[in-house]
């Protein structure tokens, strides 16, 4: 066997290999931590976005079957949270949405007491601002806080399609 082929590695070669390996491993660890953080931020952001859409859809679905709507307290930019009370053609309340403990709850208001059916979505809502116009409920702003602290904003509107119809 050629003597040169079995001479092994010199100290310099071993040192260079170890330095390179260390750099690669450190880079991979850094990449893993960074990608994990990006993954978590993206996931929580997507969850908050999905919850914002679900919340707006839930409100819109209820508004569309209502005949009348009422917002309390009255629209005011300084008010962060409002209640949305939905009534049938006879003026009886059949559903409401309200903000409590950082979540938007839904249920029925009976004799001034909220019959809570639980939060609409699990994401924390930091602002829930509404407005009522003739035949229309405007969701001025739904602001949700994602798990990583970022805020998700959305707004929409829903028409009171049952405003001229018999009680649901």
């Amino acid at each position: 066997m050629d003597r040169h082929a079995v001479r092994g590695l010199t100290l310099m070669e071993v040192t260079i290999v170890m330095v390179l390996s260390t750099l690669v491993v450190m880079g991979m660890i850094s990449f893993y931590i960074s990608s994990q953080s990006t993954w978590m931020a993206s996931s929580t952001q997507v969850l908050a976005q999905r919850d914002a859409t679900l919340l707006i859809e839930a409100i819109s679905d209820s508004v569309r079957v209502a005949a009348q709507a009422e917002v309390w307290p009255p629209p005011d930019p300084t008010v962060s949270h409002q209640d949305l009370i939905l009534r049938d053609q006879d003026g009886n309340e059949f559903w409401r949405f309200w903000w409590a403990d950082s979540l938007v709850h839904q249920g029925r208001g009976v004799d001034g007491v909220d019959e809570d059916r639980g939060p609409v979505v699990a994401s924390r809502v930091t602002r829930f601002q509404l407005g009522v116009f003739p035949g229309l409920v405007e969701i001025h702003l739904v602001e949700l806080r994602a798990g990583d602290g970022q805020l998700v904003h959305m707004s929409s509107a829903a028409a009171l399609y049952n405003r001229g119809a018999p009680a649901p």
Partner: protein
């Protein structure tokens, strides 16, 4: 394993890691892009619901393109994220046996966003009855 092999392996590993890092960055970009897409869709729905709550004689429901300025800003919490416009065209119900009469109004609400690159658009169409 010789030094040359280690160097080659290192370069390949670095290229692979950079590619993975890029894919994560691209994924994050898509999340942000879809955030605006969701806002735009909600804005288009809002416009459609607002128009459907108006009487047929409202200025916003006259045949043609609206608004007169071309587009209106879509604002969320005071921040303009997109621009919206809508068109109203006459729609002849093919089932009523009459040709050319105004049975319905076909409203198309369009919301566009994006700067610098290709503009993204979401459009919703609905038929509104004529009183």
């Amino acid at each position: 394993m010789g030094l040359m092999e280690v160097v080659v392996a290192t370069i390949i590993a670095i290229i692979a890691v950079i590619a993975l890092a890029y894919s994560f960055g691209a994924g994050r970009g898509l999340v942000n892009q879809y955030e605006v897409a969701r806002i735009a869709l909600a804005a288009a729905q809002r416009r459609m619901e607002t128009l459907s709550a108006l009487p047929d004689t409202a200025a916003e429901l006259q045949l043609g393109s609206h608004p007169s300025s071309g587009t209106d800003p879509v604002q969320v919490d005071g921040r303009t994220v997109a621009r919206e416009s809508w068109t109203v065209v006459a729609y002849d119900d093919p089932a009523d046996g009459l040709h050319g009469d105004l049975d319905l109004k076909q409203v198309t609400a369009t919301v566009s966003w994006g700067q610098g690159g290709p503009r993204e658009t979401v459009a919703l169409t609905r038929l509104i009855p004529v009183d």
